[in-house]
C-alpha cells in the first residue's frame, strides 16, 4: 500500500480560515465543501483517493503566484492538478494540502507560425493545441492517449509521450519555454521562442519533475508542419520473436516509423471481442507500423518495411492506408485499455521501458508471472521506443486481488530494470512507483535528485509524497554523506 506524508491535524483544523485566505485571492474559485471536493479526490490511478483540504482554481498566473506565496507564508502543502488523468497518482491530493487546479487557465495565448510555436496556458488540453493550429497545416506532436482530456501543464509535469515518440520525441523535446511560479510565489521565464542555452538547462529539469519543482503558468510549444502523407500497415506474426526481429531490422535499416505498435495474442483476442478491428485471426502478435512524410519517401519506406517483415516470417502484411480501414485498425489499438473491461472490472496499466531486443524474453517472463499470480496480463508495446504497457486485469471486489495485481505489476517493473530498462517510460513515478525507485537508483542517486528538489522548494511543500520513496528534510540532505551508494543507518525511519 502507498504511504503519504502524515497529515498535520493543526492544519486540517484551520480549513475554514485557509479557504477564506484563498477566497481573498481567487474570489470565485475556491471549493471547500466535502461534496464538491469529492470530484477532486483522485486521478486516473483510481485505486487511491483522498479528499484535499481545499481546492483552488486560479484563472491567471498572478493568482497562481499569490496562492503559492500564501501557501509558503502559511507553511501549507500544495498539490497541482491539470485534468487529473495521471496514471501514477501524480495529482493524488493530501488531507492537509491545497489542491491547485489549473483547468480554468485554458487559453491558447498566441500562435506564431514564423517561429513555429504556440504559447498556451497550462490548462489547455493537448488536443486543443493541434486544434488551434491545424487550419494552417500544423500540429503538436506529443499525443498521449488521454490527449482529448489531459492538459499541457500536466504533460510538462509528466514529460508525456504518446505513440509517436520515437520519431517526434516526448514533451521535453517539443517544449521551448515556460513561465513558472516557484513555491515562494516568485515568477520567472525559462526559454522561449529562441534556441535554448546560455545558462543551466532548468527547462530540462522542470519538464518531467511531476509538480515537485514549480507550477507552470504558460508554455511555449514547438508546432510542426503536418506531413502530407501517412500510411499504415498491419503485420501479423506466428510469434512475438518474429515481430521483435522485424522491429530490430526496421530500425537497423535506418527507418524511423512515426508509430510502431505491438500487441500480443491475449490483447488481440480482447480487442477483437470488443470492436472487431480485423486483425489476422491466427496471429500470435501483430505490429501496426505507420510511416509519414513526403509521398515518395513514405512509399520507399513502406516497401522496405514490408520486405523486412516478409523476410522475418510475417504471416500477413496488409496495407491499410485507406479509410475506413486505417481508422478500424487503429481503433483496435486505441481501445485496448477499454477492451480489458470485458475480461475483469479493474485494470492496472504498467509502463516500463526495456531495450527492444529484450521483448520476447520479457513476454515469456510475464506469462510465467501471470500463471504464478493467477491473473491475466495483456501486452501492448510501443515497439519503436521500447515502452511496454502490460495490462493486468483483476477484480478489486475479490479479497486480495488488488494486492496481488500490484505485486505482479511491481515484479514486471523490476524485471524491466533487470533487463536494462526503466520503471516508467511515460506515466511518471507519482505515488504508484515511488517504492520501487531503489530498484533503479542507489540512495546516493536519490539523494542527489532530492537535493535538486530542495534547490527549488526547500521546505518540501510542492507535491510532497510523490516520486521519492523516503522524504528527507533538506537540511538533512545537506549534511548527509552517502558511502558507496548507501546511507548510514539505512533502516532508521526518517522524517
Amino acid at each position: 500500500m502507498i504511504e503519504l506524508p502524515a497529515p498535520d491535524r493543526q492544519i486540517i483544523a484551520r480549513r475554514a480560515e485557509i479557504a477564506a485566505g484563498l477566497s481573498a485571492i481567487v474570489p470565485d474559485g475556491v471549493v471547500s465543501d466535502q461534496a464538491t471536493l469529492r470530484a477532486y479526490d483522485r486521478d486516473a490511478l483510481t485505486a487511491y483517493g483522498q479528499l484535499p483540504l481545499v481546492c483552488v482554481l486560479p484563472e491567471s498566473a498572478e493568482q497562481v503566484s499569490a496562492v503559492l506565496s500564501f501557501a509558503s507564508r502559511e507553511g501549507l502543502r500544495v498539490v497541482p492538478r491539470g485534468a487529473g488523468t495521471s496514471l501514477s497518482g501524480g495529482a493524488l491530493p493530501l488531507a492537509d494540502g491545497i489542491l491547485l487546479g489549473l483547468s480554468r487557465m485554458n487559453r491558447v495565448l498566441e500562435v506564431d507560425y514564423d517561429n513555429r510555436c504556440a504559447v498556451v496556458q497550462p490548462g489547455v488540453t493537448n488536443a486543443n493545441v493541434t486544434r488551434a493550429v491545424q487550419s494552417k497545416g500544423f500540429y503538436y506532436a506529443p499525443d498521449p492517449s488521454s490527449q482529448i482530456a489531459c492538459t499541457i501543464g500536466g504533460n510538462v509535469a509528466e514529460n508525456s509521450g504518446g505513440i509517436h515518440c520515437l520519431k517526434y520525441g516526448l514533451t521535453t523535446h517539443n517544449l521551448l519555454g515556460v513561465e513558472m511560479a516557484l513555491i515562494t510565489g516568485e515568477r520567472l521565464r525559462i526559454g522561449g521562442k529562441f534556441p535554448g542555452g546560455g545558462g543551466l538547462d532548468l527547462l530540462g529539469i522542470i519538464c518531467g519533475s511531476e509538480g515537485l519543482l514549480g507550477i507552470v503558468t504558460e508554455a511555449t510549444l514547438r508546432i510542426l508542419p503536418r506531413p502530407p502523407v501517412t500510411r499504415t500497415i498491419l503485420i501479423g506474426f506466428r510469434s512475438a520473436a518474429d515481430a521483435g526481429r522485424t522491429v530490430a531490422e526496421i530500425i537497423g535499416q535506418g527507418i524511423i516509423p512515426s508509430a510502431l505498435e505491438f500487441m500480443d495474442r491475449r490483447c488481440i483476442d480482447a480487442v477483437e471481442a470488443f470492436c472487431a478491428p480485423g486483425y489476422p485471426a491466427a496471429a500470435e502478435a501483430v505490429l501496426i507500423a505507420e510511416l509519414d512524410g513526403m509521398p515518395a519517401e513514405v512509399a520507399d519506406q513502406l516497401a522496405a518495411v514490408s520486405s523486412i517483415a516478409d523476410g522475418c516470417g510475417a504471416t500477413d502484411i496488409h496495407d491499410c492506408s485507406g479509410e475506413p480501414e486505417r481508422s478500424r485498425v487503429w481503433s483496435g489499438r486505441k481501445s485496448a485499455f477499454g477492451a480489458m473491461g470485458r475480461l475483469k472490472p479493474d485494470m492496472l496499466c504498467m509502463d516500463g521501458t526495456i531495450p527492444r531486443a529484450a521483448l520476447p524474453q520479457m513476454l515469456d517472463r510475464i506469462s510465467q508471472l501471470s500463471e504464478q499470480y493467477g491473473l491475466i496480463c495483456c501486452n501492448v508495446f510501443h515497439a519503436g521506443d521500447g515502452n511496454l504497457h502490460p495490462l493486468i486485469v483483476f477484480d478489486c471486489m475479490q479479497e486480495g486481488e488488488l494486492e496481488r495485481a500490484e505485486a505482479f505489476g511491481a515484479d514486471i517493473l523490476k524485471l524491466c530494470v533487470d533487463m536494462g530498462g526503466v520503471l516508467t517510460g511515460e506515466h511518471g513515478v507519482g505515488v504508484e512507483k515511488k517504492a520501487l525507485m531503489p530498484a533503479m537508483f542507489t540512495d546516493a542517486d536519490l539523494a542527489q535528485q532530492q537535493r535538486v528538489k530542495c534547490a527549488f522548494d526547500n521546505k518540501s511543500q510542492l507535491n510532497p509524497g510523490k516520486v521519492f520513496p523516503v522524504l528527507h528534510a533538506c537540511v538533512e540532505l545537506g549534511r548527509m554523506h552517502v558511502h558507496q551508494g548507501r546511507l548510514p543507518f539505512a533502516n532508521l525511519p526518517r522524517m
Binding site: N115, R116, E158, G161, C165, G169, L170, T172, H173, R187, L188, K193, F194, P195, G197, G198, G199, L200, D201, L202, G204, I205, G208, P225, P227, P228, E249, I251, G252, G254, G293, M294, P295, A296, E297, D300, T353, I354, H382, D385, G386, G421, V422, T424, E426, H427, V429, K433, M440, A444, D445, Q448, Q449, R451, V452, C454, A455, F456, V467, V482
Partner: protein
C-alpha cells in the same frame, strides 16, 4: 596559483580526489583534451582534473539506437563506430577547436556535452540535451551518481542528464554518457537561393521551415561570408541554404516542393559532398579564421533580420533558420550592451564565444541572469557542488 595536474585512472580514484578537494577547499578545472579551455570565463582553480584516462565505448547496440561511452572517449572514435552502422550523433556536433586556438580532432564526448556543441541539424533534431538519455557523474561530495537510463523513453525520476548538458562542468564531473543516436540519411542535398539580401534570405528560411520538406539545416550566408568560404563565388548579396535528407526519390520531391514555394528565386543545387563541406564550414565557424572576437546570439528566428540590422557586424552569418547568429564583433562593454539590449527586447541570449581571457573576465560571457533565475542557479549549484570544487566561475562568477 599552483597548477597541479591530476589524471585519475578511473572513476573511483577521481571520486576520492574530489572528496579530498571538497574537504580541503581545493578547486579543480576539469579537462580531457582541453580543446575548449578558451570557451567561457577563465576558471580560477588550484589544479587540473584530467579525465582523459576514462576513455572507450562501453556499449553500442545499433538496433537499439543507443551508445554509451566513457567521458574521455574522443568524438571521432564514436562517430567512426557509428558510421560502420550508418548511424550518426543526432545533434551534429561540430569542431570548434581551431576557432578557439586548439587542435582539431581531439574533442571528447564529455566536452561536447558540457559545452553543448551542436551543429546545423539542431533546427530539426534538437540540441545535445535532446540526445543525452543517461549519464554517470561525480558530484561535489565525491559521490558517483547515475542519472537517466540507457533506453530512449524514460521518465523515472528527475531528468538530471539534461542539467549536465551545457553546464560546462560546473555541476559534476561526467564519467559516462549514454546517447540516443540516429540513422544516417542515404543522401543529402542543399537547395541554394541566390542573390538575397539578409531580410529576404532570412525570410526564406522561415518559409522553408514551414513546409513539410523537413529541412535538416537552414542557414543564411551574406556575401562577405560566402566570399571567405569560396573565393570563386560571385554572389552579390547573399544566399539562403536549405539542406534536405532522404533517398534519391525523396530528395527529388523535396526539391520540387521547395522550388515551387520560391518560384521567382535564382536557385542552385549542391550535391551530397558539397552539402557536407558547406555545412561543416558553417558549423565550425571556419569563416572567422584565427583573429577577431566572436559572439553567438540566439533570438527568435523571425527577429533575425532586425537583430542583424541593429548588431552592426561586418562579418556574420545565420544558422538554425536565423535562431543562431554568429557575429564577428569586438569584446567590448559597448557591444555587450548593444547585443544584450537586442536579446532583452526580442528574447534570447548572447554569448561571448571568442575573446582574450582578460575580456572574458571583464565582460559577461553568458547572458546575465535576472535575480530570481540567478538564485535558482546558485541553489542548483549548491545541490550538486556546495564546496564549489568544479570549474569555479566558468559560466557565472557565482557558479
Amino acid at each position: 596559483m599552483s597548477t597541479q595536474h591530476l589524471r585519475p585512472a578511473g572513476d573511483r580514484e577521481a571520486a576520492e580526489l574530489i572528496r579530498d578537494a571538497a574537504q580541503s577547499g581545493t578547486s579543480f578545472e576539469i579537462i580531457s583534451s582541453g580543446t575548449k579551455r578558451n570557451l567561457g570565463r577563465p576558471v580560477a582553480a588550484n589544479g587540473l582534473l584530467d579525465m582523459s584516462a576514462l576513455a572507450g565505448i562501453i556499449d553500442y547496440k545499433p538496433e537499439e539506437l543507443v551508445l554509451s561511452a566513457r567521458a574521455g572517449t574522443r568524438l571521432s572514435e564514436i562517430e567512426a563506430v557509428l558510421a560502420e552502422h550508418h548511424q550518426i550523433v543526432g545533434f551534429e556536433p561540430r569542431e570548434w577547436a581551431p576557432m578557439l586556438g586548439a587542435p582539431a580532432g581531439m574533442q571528447t564526448i564529455a566536452g561536447v556535452v558540457a559545452a553543448d556543441v551542436c551543429g546545423p541539424r539542431r533546427v530539426k533534431s534538437g540540441s545535445v540535451r535532446d540526445h543525452v538519455i543517461g549519464c554517470r557523474f561525480i558530484n561535489g561530495h565525491g559521490e558517483i551518481i547515475k542519472a537517466g537510463g540507457t533506453v530512449i523513453k524514460n521518465v523515472t525520476g528527475f531528468d538530471i542528464p539534461k542539467l549536465m548538458c551545457g553546464a560546462f562542468g560546473t555541476l559534476g564531473v561526467l564519467t559516462e554518457v549514454t546517447l540516443r543516436v540516429l540513422p544516417r540519411a542515404q543522401r543529402s542535398a542543399t537547395l541554394v537561393l541566390y542573390n538575397r539580401a539578409p531580410e529576404a534570405g532570412l525570410g526564406a528560411l522561415i518559409v522553408a521551415a514551414q513546409t513539410p520538406a523537413d529541412a535538416t539545416a537552414l542557414a543564411y550566408l551574406p556575401c562577405l561570408a560566402i566570399g571567405l568560404m569560396d573565393s570563386s563565388a560571385r554572389d552579390l548579396r547573399g544566399a539562403a541554404l536549405i539542406r534536405i535528407d532522404g533517398t534519391p526519390a525523396a530528395l527529388d520531391e523535396k526539391i520540387r516542393l521547395l522550388r515551387a514555394r520560391f518560384p521567382e528565386a535564382e536557385t542552385a543545387l549542391l550535391n551530397h559532398e558539397e552539402t557536407e563541406t558547406v555545412f561543416r564550414n558553417i558549423g565550425d565557424g571556419s569563416v572567422f579564421g584565427h583573429e577577431g572576437d566572436i559572439w553567438r546570439l540566439c533570438v527568435p528566428p523571425s527577429r533575425a533580420a532586425q537583430t542583424i540590422a541593429e548588431a552592426e557586424a561586418q562579418l556574420w552569418y545565420a544558422d538554425w533558420a536565423g535562431g543562431l547568429l554568429w557575429l564577428q564583433l569586438p569584446a567590448s562593454p559597448e557591444v555587450a550592451q548593444r547585443l544584450r539590449g537586442i536579446t532583452a527586447k526580442f528574447g534570447g541570449h548572447a554569448t561571448l564565444f571568442r575573446a582574450s581571457p582578460e575580456a572574458r573576465q571583464a565582460i559577461d560571457v553568458f547572458e546575465p541572469e535576472a535575480p530570481v533565475r540567478s538564485n535558482l542557479t546558485k541553489a542548483v549549484k549548491q545541490a550538486f557542488d556546495p564546496e564549489r570544487v568544479f570549474n569555479r566561475g566558468r559560466m557565472f562568477e557565482y557558479l
